[in-house]
Amino acid sequence: MPENIIRVMIAKPGLDGHDRGARVLARCFRDAGFEVIYTGCHQTPEQIAAAAIQEDVDVVGLSCLSGAHRYLFPAVVDQLRQRGGDDITVVGGGIIPDQDFQFLYDAGLKALFTPGEKLDDIVDWFRKNVKKRD
C-alpha cells in the first residue's frame, strides 16, 4: 500500500546561529510522524534549495531570528523556482514583525509562525496544507 509520509526540511539561512527553535520543531515533527531533514545553521539560499531538491521534500521550513528574513526567505523561494521546485511549500518562522507578513506572503511563503505559536497548531497546519505532489 502506498505510504504518505510528509518530508520536511528545516533550514536556517544566513548568519544566525540560534537554532533552538529549529531543533524543537524538528523533534516535534518527528513525533508527529514526519521525516525531517535538518541542514544546520549558516546556509545560503542556494544550498537550502539544492538540498531540498536532492531530498525531495514536500515543505521547507525556514527559521530566522536575525532580522534578515525579508531578504533570505524570498531568496529561497526564488532559488527553488529556478531549480524546478515550485511545487515545494515554503513556510517561515522566527522573529518576524507583523508588518512584514504581507511582504513575505506576496513573495510566496505560505505561512509564518512566530513566538507563542503552539506546536500542535503548527503540526495541524502542516497536515492540512502541505499538498501531496505527484
Binding site: 502506498p2 505510504e3 536532492q54
Partner: protein, 323 residues
C-alpha cells in the same frame, strides 16, 4: 525507454530524487520505472560505511566526498537514519555534515529513513543505489544507521565495506565476536587521537591473525587505517585521501581477481529476495489488513486460539499455488 529514465541517465537530480521518494512510498508505477533502470546499472563503485552511532561516519563521508572529487570522480551519497518505531517519524541529520557540497553538481546526497527495515538499511536503498549508478555517479557512498553488531545488510549492496571504529568502545572480547567486524574490507580507526587507539589497532590485528585464509578473498587482508582529529583539516584530509586511495585499491583488487562476479551473485540474490517479498508478501498482508482479517488473526493468536504456524500455513494454502 521512458522520458524519466532518459532524464535520470542525463543526471537530472529532480527526477531521480522524486523516483527514490516514490519507491520509499511504495508507489506502484515506480516499480515499472525500475525495470528500465536495472539493465543500465553496473558502472558505480558502491562503498558502504558502517559503525556505531557517533563513530564519525557522516564526517568521514563528507571528507571522502572531497577526496573523491579531487580524484575527479562524481559521488552519490545515501545516508540512512532510523525511523522512530513509535511515531514513524525520523530526524535525518547526516546531511548537516555534508552541506558544503550541496551546490556541487557532481555530488548528490539523499537521506533516507529506515521505515521499519532491520539490518541497518532501508528497503529503498538497493533501488537508490541503482538510480545513482544510472545517473553516472562513479562512487556511491552508503552510510548505514549507527549499528550494533548484527546490522550487516550493507555487505550485500556494497563492493567495499568500511567498518568505522573509535577507541574505548569495549574490551578485547568485542574483537572476536561475529557480525559487523567480519564484513569489513577496510577498518577505519576514527578519532584516533583519543586514548586507546593503538590498543584497538592491536586487537584488530590479533583478530585478523586468527582468521582463516578463506576470510581474505584472493589475499585481501583488511587494512587498518587511522583517521585522526577532524578539527585539524590538513592532517585529516591527508588521512582521508589515503583512505580514498585504499578504497580504490580494493575495487581494483576485486576486478583483477574476478571477484566482482561472486559479489554480483550475492547482490542479485539479495535483490531478488527483496523483490519477491514486495511482489508476494506485501499484497497478501495488504489484503488481510484491508478486510480486517489480520486484526482478527492477531486477536486469535493473543487468545491462544491458534498458533502462528498453523495460520501461516493456512494463508500459504489460500494464496499460493505451489508447483
Amino acid at each position: 525507454m521512458t522520458d524519466k529514465v532518459k532524464k535520470i541517465q542525463s543526471g537530472d537530480v529532480r527526477t531521480a530524487s522524486r523516483l527514490i521518494r516514490h519507491l520509499e512510498d511504495n508507489v506502484h508505477e515506480a516499480r515499472s520505472t525500475m525495470k528500465d533502470i536495472f539493465p543500465l546499472t553496473g558502472h558505480a563503485h558502491v562503498v558502504g560505511l558502517t559503525g556505531s552511532p557517533g563513530a564519525g561516519k557522516s564526517t568521514l563521508v563528507d571528507a571522502l566526498i572531497e577526496a573523491f572529487r579531487k580524484m575527479g570522480k562524481t559521488v552519490g551519497v545515501i545516508a540512512v537514519d532510523p525511523t522512530s518505531p513509535f511515531t514513524g517519524g525520523a530526524i535525518l541529520g547526516d546531511r548537516i555534515r555534508m552541506q558544503r557540497h550541496a551546490e556541487d553538481p557532481g555530488v548528490f546526497v539523499r537521506s533516507v529513513a529506515t521505515r521499519g527495515a532491520l539490518g541497518g538499511l532501508s528497503r529503498a536503498v538497493g533501488d537508490a543505489i541503482h538510480i545513482m549508478d544510472v545517473m553516472g555517479k562513479d562512487i556511491v557512498l552508503v552510510e548505514t544507521v549507527g549499528t550494533g553488531q548484527q546490522e550487516v545488510d550493507i555487505m550485500h549492496y556494497a563492493h567495499t565495506v568500511l567498518v568505522v571504529l573509535i577507541p574505548g568502545m569495549g574490551d578485547d572480547i568485542q574483537a572476536i565476536k561475529a557480525g559487523i567486524l567480519e564484513i569489513a574490507n577496510i577498518f577505519v580507526i576514527n578519532k584516533a587521537e583519543r586514548e586507546g587507539s593503538s590498543k584497538l589497532r592491536k586487537e584488530l590485528i590479533t583478530m585478523l591473525n586468527m582468521a582463516p585464509d578463506s576470510a581474505f578473498p584472493a589475499g585481501w587482508r583488511p587494512p587498518i587505517l587511522k583517521c585522526e582529529n577532524a578539527f585539524q583539516p590538513a592532517t585529516f584530509s591527508q588521512s582521508v585521501m589515503d583512505l580514498a586511495q585504499t578504497i580504490h585499491e580494493h575495487y581494483e583488487h576485486l576486478v583483477k581477481n574476478n571477484l566482482i562476479g561472486s559479489w554480483s551473485n550475492r547482490k542479485a540474490a539479495t535483490e531478488f529476495n527483496e523483490a519477491i517479498r514486495c511482489a508476494i508478501l506485501d499484497p497478501i498482508l495488504n489484503s488481510l489488513m484491508q478486510n480486517g482479517e489480520l486484526d482478527a488473526m492477531i486477536r486469535k493468536l493473543v487468545n491462544k486460539e491458534t498458533d502462528p504456524y498453523t495460520l501461516a500455513e493456512e494463508i500459504a494454502g489460500r494464496f499460493l499455488k505451489m508447483g
